[in-house]
């Protein structure tokens, strides 16, 4: 989870390195810690750092982790020759290393030689059957080839063994959503919520999926999860506020004949509409009129 202070720190370091002050190594460490995918910046600064033999020796034993990080960033930026050079350096230092073998297989993947990469992964798996990262790379390879159903199959097999891996559940949920299999995506998000109930973004995604599924029960549940998101973010998440308004109006449309829970529904909707207007007045006063007309049309149709 990247918090605001960490993001500010990252931006500050980035500006510092961009304008010629030092701090490239701190920036790269921060990116590695926060697990961000800023491959072009990482490649630029890492390459400059590693090409300078003085700075390289100043790093000491940390330079090998840097080699690995910059090699992956190079592959992401499609500079495969640079990646190959770095992997050769790592191979020279660490012979017979699983980690370097994995990097080689990732390089084959990046070059597009799927069959060879598959062979490399299977051979690595023979040595250690329960290597999580290799299993996940196989899923990624299936995804990269466009074979989403194959990726789902591999990922399901992986999750049968490693049920606690929340990153994998998140990936599976996103793949299901991209294939419009919302019921299965809802199940994955439920697993995520069980393991990490304090992250408001998971509540928000689950509520979105429930709202997309539709139906009276799902809309009630979606409203509850939007409300949970608002609770966890202290009312600052505009998407959740919009979600409540939309859920309330969709529910009112569906239950137009029956007259139950009318007061609670409209009270929540008016409260969130008020909060939205306040937030818009603060952050983008030019759009307040657009917002009010949109909210009015929601209420009118309900």
């Amino acid at each position: 989870m990247v918090s605001k202070t960490e993001e500010d720190q990252l931006i500050r370091l980035e500006n510092q390195v961009e304008n010629g002050g030092g701090g490239a190594w701190e920036y790269l460490c921060l990116v590695r810690k926060l697990k961000l995918r800023l491959s072009d910046k990482v490649f630029k600064y890492g390459f400059a750092l590693l090409s300078d033999p003085k700075k390289r020796s100043a790093l000491g034993p940390e330079e090998w982790t840097l080699y690995e990080q910059v090699a992956i960033a190079a592959m992401d930026c499609q500079h495969l020759d640079v990646a190959k050079e770095y992997i050769k350096v790592l191979q020279g230092k660490f012979r017979e290393s699983k980690r370097v073998g994995r990097l080689e297989a990732i390089l084959l993947e990046a070059k597009g030689r799927w069959a060879e990469a598959e062979k490399a992964y299977s051979s690595l798996l023979e040595d250690n059957q329960f290597d999580q990262v290799i299993h996940k790379r196989r899923v990624a390879m299936a995804k990269a080839q466009g074979n989403l159903s194959g990726a789902i199959e591999w990922l399901n097999k992986y999750l049968e063994i490693f049920m606690a891996d929340h990153d994998a559940w998140r990936e599976l949920a996103e793949i299901y959503v991209s294939l419009q299999m919302y019921k299965q995506a809802a199940f994955c998000y439920e697993e995520l919520l069980l393991s990490h109930p304090t992250i408001p973004l998971y509540h928000l995604s689950y509520a979105d999926v429930l709202y997309t599924l539709g139906g009276v029960e799902n809309l009630h549940a979606a409203k509850k999860y939007y409300a949970a998101t608002i609770d966890l973010t202290g009312g600052k998440n505009n998407r959740a506020l919009f979600g409540i308004c939309l859920c309330a109006s969709a529910l009112a449309q569906l239950t137009r004949g029956r007259n139950k829970d009318d007061k609670e529904n409209s009270e929540l909707q008016s409260l969130s509409a008020e909060a939205l207007e306040k937030a818009y007045k603060q952050q983008s006063p030019t759009n307040v009129s657009v917002l009010s007309s949109a909210l009015r049309s929601l209420k009118v149709s309900s």
């Binding site: 990247v2 697990k35 995918r37 592959m75 500079h79 020759d81 640079v82 996940k136 998140r170 304090t198």
Partner: protein
């Protein structure tokens, strides 16, 4: 920083002195065979003063306190970490080319 430390030390010393004075007062009462009603008023005043000094030092010595609310402006979650294990390289970035000088020294 040094001043807060000094105030903290003074507060602790005052509390210790108040405790010693109370023990002495009790032993004096044992000699005169009276009941121990409570420490004398000076000792109570010293106790309260020592308490305030210690409190003040405890609050100022650590420096800046961090916020505990998860939705406060500093602690709020801005983004989820990217799933680096599932990263694929078969994306549109192939069409871009970064103009970086790539001679490896």
């Amino acid at each position: 920083m040094g001043f807060s430390h000094a105030v903290g030390v003074v507060g602790v010393l005052m509390l210790a002195h108040a405790a010693y004075a109370t023990i002495q007062y009790r032993s004096l009462l044992k000699i005169t065979e009276e009941q121990f009603m409570g420490p004398p008023i000076t000792v109570v005043v010293e106790l309260v003063a020592g308490l305030f000094f210690c409190l003040w030092a405890a609050l100022t010595v650590p420096g800046k306190f961090l916020l505990i609310l998860p939705q406060s402006d500093e602690n709020r979650v801005v983004a989820l970490p990217f799933n680096l294990d599932f990263m694929i390289f078969n994306h549109r970035g192939k069409a871009f080319s970064l103009g970086i000088d790539m001679k490896i020294k």
